[in-house]
């Protein structure tokens, strides 16, 4: 069981074996939307790491000490959405203040983290896997690292695509989707790892 695994196994699992984007297909919107430039992809990845770590912590605490105590476990999805939205809003204000350049580079995709299912997915998986607080935070963080890895790798691929000679009917989104599929297939190679 994943909940009995040590931190190393948890990290490898979250980053490679069960990569959120390429294996679980969560967070596809920013994965395709912000992966045109490595720089912004990295920025987006950092924002997601930040949001996912904090939201894993917050949602775990709310679930454990509020929802479980009151016997309202069935409210977890909607409560998590609420908390994540607030956290994203906070991150947005924070970024606008501290790094306006990153803020404008992320543009519309930052508010979109609100509806990024990877963030909600991490929060719910934490509960479903029966993680404790430390494991939840680490799993959230590692999953986001996996997201960042995927999006940065893919941004590199797309930057190469920019300069390659692509048949006209495949230019733009089609070739991006095809190459996303190929990258996902490469990541499926990790599923052979067993601990």
């Amino acid at each position: 069981m994943l909940k009995d695994a040590n931190i190393f196994v948890l990290a490898i699992t979250a980053i490679f074996v069960e990569n959120f984007v390429l294996v679980k297909f969560m967070g596809i919107c920013p994965f395709l939307g912000v992966s045109k430039k490595t720089e912004t992809a990295f920025g987006m990845g950092m924002a997601v790491i930040f949001v996912m770590t904090i939201s894993s912590l917050a949602t775990y605490l709310v679930y454990k000490y509020l929802l479980v105590t009151l016997g309202l476990e069935y409210l977890k999805t909607i409560a998590f959405i609420l908390i994540i939205a607030a956290i994203v809003q906070l991150v947005e204000m924070f970024l606008q203040k501290i790094t306006p350049a990153l803020y404008s580079a992320l543009g519309i995709y930052l508010p979109l983290i609100t509806t990024n299912c990877a963030v909600l997915g991490a929060a719910i998986l934490n509960i479903d896997n029966g993680f404790n607080l430390l494991q939840s935070v680490l799993f959230g963080c590692f999953s986001a690292v996996g997201f960042t890895l995927a999006i940065v790798l893919f941004a590199g691929v797309r930057e190469r695509l920019e300069t390659s000679d692509i048949p006209e009917f495949l230019q733009g989104t089609p070739i991006a989707l095809v190459s996303a599929g190929l990258v996902a297939m490469a990541f499926l190679g990790f599923s052979g790892l067993s601990f």
Partner: protein, 264 residues
């Protein structure tokens, strides 16, 4: 009772988050130039991209930062530009308004077809099949790619050719970019007359293909007192810098393809 608990709990979480955000917004406010918002409100908000920026918001920011001229918006009229320039404190030069015109009147009646096209309703697709189904390789295919992309709903397909409604057209130029035949051009709004054909076919050939085509007879060129018309590659072209809007060319044109434009 359970519903009440659930409601109170969720409401409480929401209220708490709201309070947190309210406090945070106090400490994390960023001074944004209020002129950006003001200009953004003046702009049409169609985000057509005619100015060369990603949208009205991006253009407004660029104007305030001094990176864009105040009159780059192709859509808004001189009044709006005047207001914007007052806000910024820059004098705007009066700009020439343009309007899109489809240089083809090869309606189903006038223009002959080479084959029957039964593919998807898309000019691009049709143009790929041997250059389109019309006998004239320069004519409007009339499948409406321009009408689909027009953000102002100014283009309609009538009798198999696109027609621009000059009252609605703002000259953003989106249709000119999307037309596979390049048969839509922007002409000055002040122009009274325009050559409504884009064909470079030779005269005799043209007569055979379309009854509404320029045959390159040069009658307009000879008659133009301002020397504004030049017939090149079997096609008349009006130089709007020289044109005096006298209308003699339209009168003399044997094919009646020099037509009255917007003001005429």
């Amino acid at each position: 009772m359970i519903i009440l608990y659930a409601g109170i709990t969720l409401g409480g979480i929401g209220l708490l988050c709201g309070l947190l955000l309210a406090v945070a917004s106090k400490y994390l406010t960023v001074e944004v130039d209020e002129r950006i918002e003001q200009i953004n409100e003046l702009l049409p908000g169609a985000n057509c991209g005619g100015c060369g920026y990603a949208g009205c918001g991006a253009y407004a920011t660029a104007v305030v930062e001094g990176n864009a001229p105040v009159d780059a918006c192709v859509v808004c009229g001189n009044e709006v530009i005047k207001k914007i320039s007052e806000l910024i404190g820059v004098k705007a030069q009066g700009k020439e308004h343009k309007v899109a015109k489809v240089l083809c009147f090869g309606t189903t009646e006038c223009a002959k077809n080479r084959y029957i096209y039964e593919g998807i309703c898309d000019c691009d697709a049709a143009a790929r099949l041997g250059g389109g189904f019309k006998a004239c390789a320069y004519g409007c295919l009339g499948l409406g790619n321009c009408a689909k992309i027009c953000p102002f709903d100014a283009i309609a397909i009538e009798d198999g050719v696109a027609n621009v409604n000059p009252d609605k057209c703002t000259g953003c130029g989106k249709c000119t970019a999307v037309c596979p035949k390049n048969v839509i051009v922007l002409i000055p709004k002040t122009a009274k007359y325009y050559v409504s054909c884009a064909s470079k076919n030779k005269g005799a050939e043209m007569k055979d293909k379309c009854s509404s085509g320029c045959i390159g007879c040069k009658i307009c060129e000879k008659n133009c007192s301002a020397g504004a018309i030049l017939v090149e590659n079997n096609l008349a072209e009006i130089d709007y810098d020289k044109c005096t809007n006298c209308g003699l060319c339209a009168e003399k044109c044997p094919k009646k393809i020099i037509r009255k434009g917007i003001l005429g």
